[in-house]
């Protein structure tokens, strides 16, 4: 639920990074924070447990400047990926404007990707939101692991079982190295702001 202050021409939106546990959601935000420090309005806040597993969420607020006459602010969140934290994911999804689904390219995480996507669809439905209508971008992360001889899925395979019906934009990435992180965020911002422009009739 974006906040739009017409008087001061400020728009604030929320993008959530979703995906299975240990797929690299927090790593995405950490890279964004390091690479785009000048855009961050405060430090990144992470609520983790041992082993850098997200317990509640990561939060990174950013000011991305003026777009079509409006001061655009964005709140980036991650959810805890482990299946047992479903109620926390539902909380974090409240008021979401756009989603980046980070899928793990590892062959052994195929089922977890699918479960997480179904979980996202169900949690959105509980908020009367539709996975097919929300600004959504896929990121196929950990592509670099193939260099170490680790079995990863082909992009075509991931597209086929995750994005066959949704047909949303996707990016390959190695969040640890920063590859594909900015492109994913830029696309998500573009889709989200375009959607809000239509919804809020902002910047006519």
């Amino acid at each position: 639920m974006a906040f739009f202050n017409q008087k001061d021409k400020v728009i604030e939106c929320k993008i959530v990074y979703y995906g299975p546990g240990m797929c690299g959601k927090t790593t995405n935000l950490e890279y964004i924070f390091r690479a785009g420090r000048s855009y961050a309005t405060t430090d990144m806040i992470s609520i983790n447990t041992k082993g850098d597993r997200t317990l509640y969420f990561d939060f990174l607020p950013m000011g991305i400047g003026r777009i079509m006459g409006c001061d655009v602010k964005v709140q980036l969140f991650t959810v805890p990926g482990q299946s047992k934290y479903r109620s926390t994911r539902k909380m974090v999804l409240k008021g979401v404007d756009g989603i980046v689904f980070v899928a793990d390219s590892l062959q052994i995480r195929k089922n977890e990707n699918l479960s997480s996507l179904k979980d996202l669809q169900e949690n959105l439905a509980e908020q009367n939101m539709d996975l097919f209508n929300i600004p959504l971008v896929f990121q196929y992360n950990k592509r670099d692991l193939s260099e170490n001889g680790i079995p990863i899925m082909q992009v075509s395979e991931m597209e086929s079982y995750l994005n066959n019906k949704l047909k949303v934009p996707f990016y390959t990435a190695s969040a640890l190295k920063g590859n594909g992180v900015s492109d994913t965020l830029k696309k998500s911002l573009k889709l989200t702001l375009r959607h809000l422009q239509h919804e809020l009739r902002w910047a006519n």
Binding site: I45, K50, D52, F59, I108, R109
Partner: protein
């Protein structure tokens, strides 16, 4: 099945990478596969024995980590800054009061029940959505595994009149259900189940009694002291409102803002009591069938 050395090395490599990724179950599975293949192998070189030992040590370490993760505190007390952040970023309502309730509710959802209790009590003190807030206060006590505290809190509300009868009944029903589900037998105070008047908002109602009319002494310089009866049209907190028809404007003019009204008789369904009041507001009705009449608000002062 015998594996070539390089195949074993591939499995070990996978196990190591998964472990570094935090994928502990997957890593353990790979190490177990390594062990499985190695124990099927008849080779008994020192290097082989050493490798088996190393793999076993790694599996033990992974099992320890898995056990540690299962023991973690899933509701740690967060810093004050993070608690404030949660309240800020998880409140969405346009109205300030409901946004405040949402923010505190988010605190509770993130396991910060102690701080949520403090904040909910603050909201209740301000008269913000008392019925809703009261139930969340009870939920917080119950989440802190303190049924006794929840019961004690409810008893306090019954005694201090902070909640309206309707809100008390709601809170009682909620508490009874939860306690019954927990298998706790207790008897909460009996409440009057008579339906209440519905002409009040669920806002700031601290006066436990419903006043339906009042008698005010008026000092007319020509006629001396006399009493006038008014029907109460609205009651909120400790202020009652009465309507004075437009044709009695001269009567209205006898009341000025801040004027003390001694010895008012307040009529309630159960009793008549006497108290003092202060003229708090005079407003002309602008719309509706009583357009042109006046509303006189009287703030009740305890004796």
């Amino acid at each position: 099945m015998l594996l070539e050395d390089f195949q074993l090395q591939t499995l070990i490599n996978e196990a190591e990478v998964y472990q570094s990724q935090g994928l502990l179950e997957e890593s353990k599975e790979k190490y177990l596969s390594v062990l499985h293949y190695m124990t099927d192998d008849n080779r008994s070189s020192d290097t082989y024995k050493k490798l088996i030992k190393t793999v076993n040590v790694r599996i033990e370490k992974i099992e320890e980590d898995i056990a540690d993760f299962e023991k973690i505190d899933e509701t740690p007390t967060l810093s004050h800054d993070v608690q404030n952040l949660i309240q800020k970023v998880f409140s969405f309502s346009q109205t300030k009061e409901m946004a405040e309730v949402e923010g505190v509710l988010a605190l509770a959802k993130f396991g910060q029940h102690e701080q949520a209790l403090v904040e909910f009590h603050r909201l209740l003190g301000k008269g913000v959505a008392p019925g809703v807030v009261a139930k969340h206060i009870l939920e917080c006590h119950l989440a802190l595994s303190s049924s006794e505290a929840a019961i004690s809190q409810f008893n306090q509300w019954v005694a201090n009149g902070l909640l309206t009868q309707d809100d008390l009944l709601d809170a009682q029903s909620f508490l009874e259900t939860v306690l019954r589900d927990k298998g706790i037998e207790t008897s909460l105070p009996q409440l009057d189940h008579t339906p209440r008047k519905k002409n009040r908002t669920r806002g700031e109602q601290r006066l436990a009694l419903d006043i339906y009319s009042l008698k005010i002494q008026v000092d007319d310089h020509s006629e001396g002291l006399y009493e006038i009866d008014f029907d109460v049209t609205f009651q909120s907190n400790d202020t009652v409102s009465v309507v004075i028809p437009s044709e009695k404007k001269t009567l209205l003019d006898r009341f000025h803002l801040g004027m003390s009204l001694p010895k008012i008789k307040f009529y309630t369904p159960r009793a008549v009591f006497e108290g003092n009041g202060i003229v708090a507001e005079k407003t002309e009705i602008k719309i509706g069938p009583k357009k042109g009449d006046y509303v006189l608000d009287i703030k009740i002062k305890a004796n």
